[in-house]
């Protein structure tokens, strides 16, 4: 029995949101997707899941770096220092040029990166989707 993966997508660009949604579908990943348009919104949604008895925190967070209000770094820092959320896998959505940002994100302890635009064959995003497929196949 495959498991449905809970994904929180934190991304302000509508185009990139669609990009992620399309890719998840193409990869046939069984998922439940929540979308936050910025870090603050994402954090509020996370806090709500804590008090909810039916839906827990997300399995995976796909996090854009550059966002208004609370940016990707700040949100990742908050999550990694939170007692409950700290083990949630975070994948950073980056463009290929953001080398310095990547190094900084790695220090924070993110699981990996997905390079935008999402290419089905791109090695970086393959890692992330393989992980999702593995999680899905593991059942619970």
């Amino acid at each position: 029995m495959n498991r449905i993966i809970n994904i929180l997508l934190v991304e302000d660009d509508r185009l990139d949101q669609i990009d992620v949604m399309r890719t998840l579908e193409k990869k046939q990943i069984l998922h439940r997707l929540k979308i936050a348009n910025n870090g603050e919104e994402a954090w509020e949604m996370m806090e709500e899941t804590e008090s909810s008895i039916f839906t827990g925190p997300p399995d995976i967070i796909l996090l854009d770096l550059n966002m208004p209000k609370l940016n990707g770094f700040e949100l990742a820092t908050r999550i990694k220092s939170h007692p409950v959320f700290k083990d949630i896998r975070i994948f950073m959505l980056t463009t290929s040029e953001e080398h310095e940002d990547k190094a900084a994100a790695r220090k924070l302890g993110v699981t990996g990166f997905i390079t935008k635009p999402l290419k089905l064959q791109s090695p970086t995003s393959t890692d992330a989707f393989n992980l999702m497929i593995d999680l899905m196949n593991m059942g619970k």
């Binding site: 660009d13 185009l15 669609i18 990009d19 399309r22 463009t95 040029e97 935008k116 635009p117």
Partner: protein, 496 residues
């Protein structure tokens, strides 16, 4: 004080000192001349005096001889001596300066001489002449002779005359002696003053020269240090100099120059930074929406291709082409902005190998032959810019080539002293000379971009790389006659 004034002033001081010296020497020469004249005149006076005395003795002996013998010979001797003495007395009167003492003596001498002639010689001669007439007169003469010559007055007159003369001559000797002493003293004084003035001139001249040299060279050294600092990129240098000399003015002008340079270069640096930032922002931020457009078109093609009419598919392809071009141009801007910012790393570069690598980037075209000269040099230089230049020139030669057969691109080099001149020649369409400047500007293309896909940054990058290194590129081409691009590259950069 102005340096020119100091130099003029010191020049005049030294000139004055030398003028004094010259005047003193001139005066001395004058004095010597005068002294010589006095000496000569005095010699003549003494000579005359001696001659007068000798003549007088001749007169005395002539007189006595005649008185004793009455021989005419004696009277002749007496007469000629007297005549000569008359002349000598006249001359002496002229020669002796109007000094009271000598003139007095001369007057006394003349009087004594005349007295002797009139009171002794003439009466005795007269008396003696008469003795020839009778014996009585002979006796009278003898008596008279005794009275005149033996009683001693004549001897007194003679002695007095001698005394006067020795006084007269002695005076001359003393005069000469005193003149000689005066001259000696004058020579000595002149010598002392000349030597002193010369020494003073040397000391003053040396002092002024040292002062000027020191003040000029110390200021010069300061300015050289400052100019070197400015050349080294440090514009915050300043020379403190409140003087009024020309060099102080120069120092203040240098200060002003450094200040203006500092302001301008700071401004230039800020503008360059802003431009870099701008290029970065433009290329970076514009890329995102372009990528978005490209994404959406991809999605349409992936999801709805079958449902699209043919015309729409063609338009979508056009959009994609334009997006790709815009992305290339943005990449070009970034590349252009990055030239010269990268660290210049020099290494041993085998240009033969480098050209083999560049071959890989050439578009495949049939009918064009590439000829690369063998034996290109090994250089110790920056590899990447050289690759960029060759790539851009050779890719252009290929990309714009219009021949479908017998086309060629030739790459060769020449030795040009300290440089190598590298050539990329083709027999393509050529470039009208009126565009020879224009083609090196960024985004400048001569063909519609749809005809040959081009961003128009290739040659501008080549130009900028060469400009940054103060090297030049040359183009020889006319429409229809192909084009030859050549550029210079230094042979030896080991010491740079």
């Amino acid at each position: 004080m102005k340096i020119s004034n100091i130099i003029l002033f010191s020049f005049f001081i030294i000139l004055l000192l030398f003028s004094i010296t010259t005047y003193l020497n001139y005066a001395l020469a004058d004095l010597t001349n005068e002294n010589t004249e006095v000496f000569e005149r005095s010699s003549v006076v003494v000579r005359h005096s001696n001659r007068f005395q000798r003549n007088f003795l001749n007169m005395v002996s002539g007189l006595r001889g005649y008185l004793l013998t009455t021989e005419g010979f004696f009277i002749q001797s007496y007469d000629s001596a007297m005549q000569e003495n008359e002349d000598i007395l006249k001359e002496l009167a002229i020669l002796v300066p109007e000094q009271a003492q000598q003139q007095d003596l001369l007057r006394d001498i003349r009087q004594l001489h005349t007295y002797w002639i009139q009171n002794f010689a003439v009466p005795l001669l007269e008396a003696r002449k008469n003795t020839l007439l009778s014996d009585s007169t002979k006796r009278a003469f003898d008596k008279f002779y005794r009275v005149k010559l033996v009683d001693g007055l004549e001897k007194d007159v003679q002695a007095s005359l001698q005394r006067k003369f020795s006084q007269f001559i002695n005076f001359e000797y003393r005069l000469r002696e005193s003149e000689r002493e005066k001259l000696k003293a004058s020579v000595h004084n002149t010598k002392v003053v000349t030597i002193s003035l010369t020494i003073i001139s040397i000391v003053v001249g040396t002092g002024i020269a040292v002062f000027i040299a020191y003040s000029i060279s110390s200021k010069m050294i300061n300015m050289v240090i400052m100019a070197n600092a400015i050349a080294g990129g440090n514009y915050e240098v300043h020379i403190h100099d409140r003087g009024k000399s020309e060099l102080s003015q120069l120092a203040r002008a240098l200060n002003r120059m450094a200040r203006i340079l500092d302001t301008n270069i700071t401004l230039l640096q800020r503008q360059r930074d802003e431009l870099d930032q701008f290029a970065h922002i433009v290329s970076h931020d514009l890329k995102a929406p372009l990528r978005g457009i490209d994404n959406v078109i991809n999605w349409i093609e992936e999801d709805h291709l079958a449902a699209l009419p043919k015309g729409v598919v063609d338009y979508l392809a056009l959009i994609k082409g334009r997006v790709a071009r815009a992305e290339d141009m943005l990449k070009g801007i970034l590349q252009y902005a990055h030239i010269g910012k990268a660290e210049r790393i020099k290494e041993v570069v085998d240009v033969n190998e480098l050209l083999l690598e560049v071959r890989e980037y050439l578009p495949s075209r049939s009918g064009i032959t590439l000829t690369v000269q063998t034996g290109f040099p090994m250089l110790f230089t920056e590899r990447i810019p050289l690759v960029q230049i060759f790539t851009n020139l050779m890719v252009n030669a290929y990309k714009y080539h219009d021949k479908t057969e017998n086309g060629f691109v030739k790459v060769y080099f020449k030795d040009a002293g300290k440089y190598y001149q590298f050539f990329v020649e083709d027999n393509g369409p050529g470039i009208d000379p009126k565009y020879h400047q224009k083609i090196f500007r960024i985004f400048q293309t001569l063909h519609p971009r749809d005809f040959v896909e081009s961003t128009g940054v290739g040659l501008s990058i080549v130009k900028k790389i060469l400009d940054d290194r103060k090297l030049t590129i040359h183009l020889e081409s006319e429409t229809g006659r192909g084009a030859t691009f050549s550029f210079y590259w230094p042979k030896d950069e080991t010491h740079e």
